[in-house]
Symmetry: C2
Subunit: 730 residues, 2 copies
């Protein structure tokens, strides 16, 4: 062929190839690495969020999602950061990806990004920033895994380069990526031994559903390699494969080499529980549905009262910043409240979030002993948060905020509707008083309570965690955790309690034929950087000290009096709650006083909680030593945010909150951080089968001599004229 | 005059007199004793509920009460009992009055009725009764005070006579009547010494507001007479006279002789706190009001789902009976829940109510040491409950129930809108699960939570207690107590914290100039006659027992296991809660099992609570010994309903729950009653001044292996089509 013709043919060939690829791409909607589009909206591209996924996509019963009418689908492509604490935008994540792809830090240029988040500016920078001025330099904090090491990097997005790089020599690894998990669960499929076991258990490979179970750390034999245990279920006949475990089958996998290290099968005689009755999906219900109650909704004919600009929220007397976070789930920052007397905004909480979520199971057998999850540091509470269901997860006037995260190669993806914000009226009373007839004053003053709720829900495998931050107009903040979702159950030969011998240890409760709900705990540790009217605060344990009166002036023999103990160093604030040694826990600003001289403050008010009973030297408890006390106080330190340490996966417990606190540093009149752990003991019961009604617990941060007086006294009640006129739509 | 004319004139005279009287009566709306009308609607005839009242009626800011549209004003005159547990009707109270007036039991025929309530039929009668059949014989239980003794009488309303009469030889007296209280506060006015002291304190007699403070019991010197301590305040310049105490002035009064026994004044140098800034009434607010949030309401375009017939409530899966009670406030009875599998109603709670409310103050001085209230037995939680404010105390679709009580001479009176019942949607989640991307199942199932709330609010002098019983469709019952209203404060010379010397004991917190909020506790003890699927139940303490593994099969060193301890006698169930010795508290029916053999049951789940620290031999703690433990279990006994004893006023503690429980009676597989105490320690803070934002705590009764599976799995989510279309009314 002539050279010109050759070039023409080549050109035409390439053009057609390009055209072909383009059409294929448009048809399949492949994710294109490094492109400018958002492909990975996980509510639409579920399977692609995992990149590789051999398990057939199940159409299931996907409830038609109603898009909230007042909200436009967020345009992430053109989004820019407006506040110093705003999370990385789509463009910024892409910039990180691009910078990472060009770096020569890693041998052979191969890396996996385990975390790509904003490197928050210094507190001073954030606090001195004013709306309208330039943001502090935008930087990304990146944790990369390469060459068998974790690298902690800071990427300057303005300079366009990596400005800090710390290779980790710590024990432990970063949280798994979605890619780690999905590839791990496929590794056993390559093992002939595994396939044989599955077949012997009468499970079809096409029904196999496997989950990645963090293996914890139990000694020297479990170091130096990233390990994971894969456990499998049958999804034949039900979406609720959790109820059909291939009990006793544990595959130990080398996460990086992607190979099977060991297979344990000590459940040969344990049958697969039945599928019947386990499917919770509406579409799968065979029996008549329970007739619904009359429709009921929270209505706001003039719309909600909150104003949201990007991540900044204004509502009632509150202003705060909220952002999704892959590890914490959701972070509340720079929360300030308006003083009704002065009209000024006053600082309360600089940063609050769920720092770790420890879930130890109480079964010491081979298939269970290691189930001692640290869900934030191993899986990511934000990474496992799925889109909320409008109307059912949140009421109709809720505002939705998307999460924007990065895959292992740095491609941004959207977790839409991950956080909802809504106003709540629940028929509660803010304050009231009526005079009784003795004085004959015809007085009845009542004010209704309206609050603001900020919510997300993480589904960490089987369990659903609903995390709420609720703001009240009287200055109180309530943090609440609700537990729902599906139990992790254990297969058993037992079909009835009668069959259980007295010496047999179930480690839980028989819930249905062949199903044991295994006992376990949940501990959610909150990081609370309280900055009451400023950074320098003190922590005061106000003991209700019992006093006995001997030969007193009156016949009264006993009382309690408040005795204040100001914590000077960290060991003064390692606190176990005790019903018979009660105390209040105040965070005060010793330099600010009320009108009559009390130091301003807030107090932490625990609700119901539980304490870990595990031995302190039991490896899971070593790793979760931050649950040795319910309350801790540390001096503010940017590197001390994750209660289980920076690298929690397979950690040995040498970098936990307990370790830091034992340094016994000064905490009086300093910038301090409060840590509170909300716990649950869970002995399952049949009502938890096959899906659990929500149980929840909470704690409060309550203004205590923060205001000179009740801050909501000068409010109005609800009047009939304010009520809407509503008619059924159908 | 001729005889005919004379008679005519007389007739005309009498006719005009009658006419005149009739017009006067219609104009003034006097209460007429013994008549057939309801005169004493205390929301309209406040002053007449007290009969005598020297304190001027204050118009105050009485919020225009909107009558709930769907409810007709209850016609109490024609009301008849429909259920065996229905409270006495107006006609029945009048019948009691009439019978009492005719009896010759009391010398000189003089008596005061301290309690007139239904004598409940035996449990067997109540449970075997079916709608449509005759009610068991209606009887009244009456406590009368006459000749310095308490008489416990049963009045058969069918026979029209007293059929039982027990003169009390117990220590202690019945609850005060409104007449006791109003006459007691007037007694000091007759004392010259008192008037002089008041004048020296620069309080005008017309501004004087005095309150009746139960004096407790502190030894032999306080027996044999009904005593009360009167303490006074100035209401000059404010409705919130509680903020202006005449500190240190205590008048000991003989309640029956109506005379002053002793006057103590150890507050001569303590100034009267200022009125400024203390008035909480909307009408009294001088400074700009806080702008309200956008209107928000709970809307039900098809109306609420509950059906209420008299005192019987049906909602969702629940049926129960609710009635106001002068002593307990409100009683929930025969609560049954529908089993979704069988469609049958199953028994859960035979009777539940607040049995006592112990409020000890922590100040041992002369003016305070005796403030150790037992509000149910001394004042009556129901007697001090005022009408609820529609729209502010309860949401718009609430149903209201009146209380019907008797005055000291047996005249019935109505406390309208004393209880409200409403459906609540608060944006909460009943259960949920989403699948995360690993399995690629596009599943999101969420169900919203809708509950039913039954509420009343007692204003026992200064404090407001909001008591809620909340029913959930998943079978859970939550009992909640909210505290609001006004603190009992102590006058002081101090105006600033700076002035307080380190040796000075405030017994509380300085809240404002000259005002100390005195430390105190609240303990609300609940009576819970659980009848799980029948009367005979057992109480099982399920301990989370910590176990250490030595040389176990796996590297795990510790875990907890559930160890069940069935309580055999009462001493097995005298329980103090402990965070580090956790347990669950189950009430089971050992004769009924689930499909797979677990005994059916419910568990009591404590929320946040507090424990009394007072010495057991300190007189108030002796009288309130039922707070020595958080949980007790007793065998069902009709005479054991009031935790502080039948006669609590000035009781010595010899007839309390603690005394009964020490009898150590068998409680295994018997009809048992659970007692739970919800407590609060209160160290006041400035936010509590001059009126307190509501704080609350609760506990749950949760089905535990009661159902074979999650009872609300087969429910539907909320759909957009169910939402109403609402428009602002104005």
């Amino acid at each position: 062929m002539e050279p010109t013709s050759y070039r023409r043919v080549l050109f035409l060939l390439m053009a057609s190839l390009l055209l072909l690829l383009l059409s294929i791409r448009t048809w399949i909607r492949l994710p294109s690495l490094g492109s400018a589009k958002i492909e990975l909206d996980c509510s639409e591209y579920g399977s692609w969020c995992t990149f590789k996924n051999r398990i057939q996509s199940r159409s299931g019963a996907f409830i038609q999602r109603t898009k909230p009418k007042q909200q436009q689908k967020a345009d992430h492509e053109s989004e820019v950061a407006k506040h110093p604490l705003d999370p990385l935008t789509l463009r910024e994540i892409q910039r990180v990806q691009s910078i990472m792809q060009k770096t020569s830090i890693f041998n052979q240029g191969k890396f996996a990004l385990h975390s790509v988040v904003l490197e928050e500016p210094l507190k001073e920078e954030v606090l001195s920033w004013k709306a309208g001025s330039n943001l502090p330099t935008r930087k990304a904090s990146v944790i990369a895994w390469a060459d068998g090491h974790a690298y902690k990097l800071i990427v300057d997005l303005v300079l366009g380069q990596i400005v800090e790089n710390q290779i980790s020599h710590e024990n432990g690894y970063p949280a798994m990526t979605m890619e780690d998990m999905t590839s791990a669960v496929q590794v056993p499929l390559k093992s002939k031994e595994f396939v044989e076991i599955v077949e012997k258990r009468k499970v079809n490979m096409s029904d196999l559903a496997c989950g990645p179970i963090s293996s914890g750390w139990f000694g020297a034999g479990e170091e130096g390699l990233r390990l994971i245990k894969v456990m499998c279920f049958s999804s034949a006949g039900t979406a609720n494969y959790f109820m059909r475990p291939i009990e006793g089958l544990v595959v130990l996998v080398d996460m990086d080499a992607k190979k099977v290290l060991k297979i344990i099968d000590d459940g040969k005689d344990i049958p697969l529980p039945k599928a019947e009755g386990t499917d919770y999906r509406l579409s799968a219900q065979k029996y008549p549905l329970i007739p619904p109650l009359n429709p009921i909704s929270i209505e706001q004919p003039q719309g909600p009262s909150f104003k949201i600009d990007g991540h900044q929220v204004k509502w009632g007397s509150w202003e705060f910043h909220v952002k999704p976070d892959p590890r914490a789930g959701m972070i509340i920052s720079v929360a300030t409240v308006k003083d009704p007397e002065t009209g000024k905004m006053r600082r309360v909480l600089y940063k609050g979030f769920t720092s770790e979520l420890f879930v130890p199971y109480m079964d010491t057998s081979e298939g269970w002993y290691f189930k001692t999850y640290l869900d934030a540091g191993e899986y990511g509470i934000g990474l496992t948060a799925m889109s909320l269901d409008p109307l059912n997860d949140c009421p109709r006037n809720a505002y939705y905020m998307d999460g924007l995260f990065a895959t292992a190669d740095g491609t941004p993806y959207v977790r839409s509707n991950m956080v909802c914000i809504f106003e709540r009226y629940a028929g509660e009373i803010a304050w009231r008083h009526t005079e009784c007839p003795i004085t004959d004053m015809q007085i009845r003053e009542v004010r209704p309570k309206v609050t603001l709720v900020v919510r997300m829900a993480a589904s960490v495998g089987n369990y659903d965690y609903i995390v709420d931050w609720e703001f009240q107009t009287d200055g109180l903040i309530r943090a609440k955790v609700g537990l729902s979702g599906i139990l992790m159950i254990k297969g058993t030969k037992y079909e009835n309690v009668d069959q259980i011998s007295s010496t047999d240890e179930l480690h839980g409760t028989l819930l249905a034929e062949n199903i044991i709900g295994v006992s376990h705990d949940h501990y959610i540790t909150f990081y609370l950087d309280m900055d009451i009217d400023g950074k320098d605060n003190s922590f005061v344990q106000v003991e209700m000290a019992k006093k006995t009166v001997k030969n007193g002036p009156t016949p009264r023999k006993s009382f309690w009096k408040a005795e204040k103990h100001i914590a000077q160093t960290e060991k003064d604030a390692q606190i176990k709650l005790s019903l018979y040694q009660p105390a209040e826990f105040h965070v005060i600003n010793p330099s600010r006083k009320t009108n009559i001289g009390n130091p301003v403050g807030y107090k932490l008010v625990p609700g119901a909680t539980a304490a870990s009973l595990l031995d302190h030297d039991d490896p899971p408890q070593l790793r979760a030593a931050f649950t040795n006390n319910q309350i801790w106080v540390t001096p503010y330190n940017r590197s001390e945010e994750w209660a289980g340490g920076q690298y929690v996966y397979q950690s040995k417990g040498d970098d936990t909150l307990a370790v830091w606190s034992d340094r016994d540093r000064p905490i009086e009149n300093k910038d301090i951080v409060i840590w509170y752990t909300l716990g649950f003991h869970h002995l399952p019961c049949q009502e938890d089968y096959p899906i659990m009604p929500t149980v929840s617990s909470s704690f409060d941060l309550k203004p205590t001599n923060f205001f000179d007086r009740n801050p909501i006294m000068r409010t109005t009640p609800c009047y009939e004229k304010d009520l809407p006129t509503c008619a059924a739509s159908s």
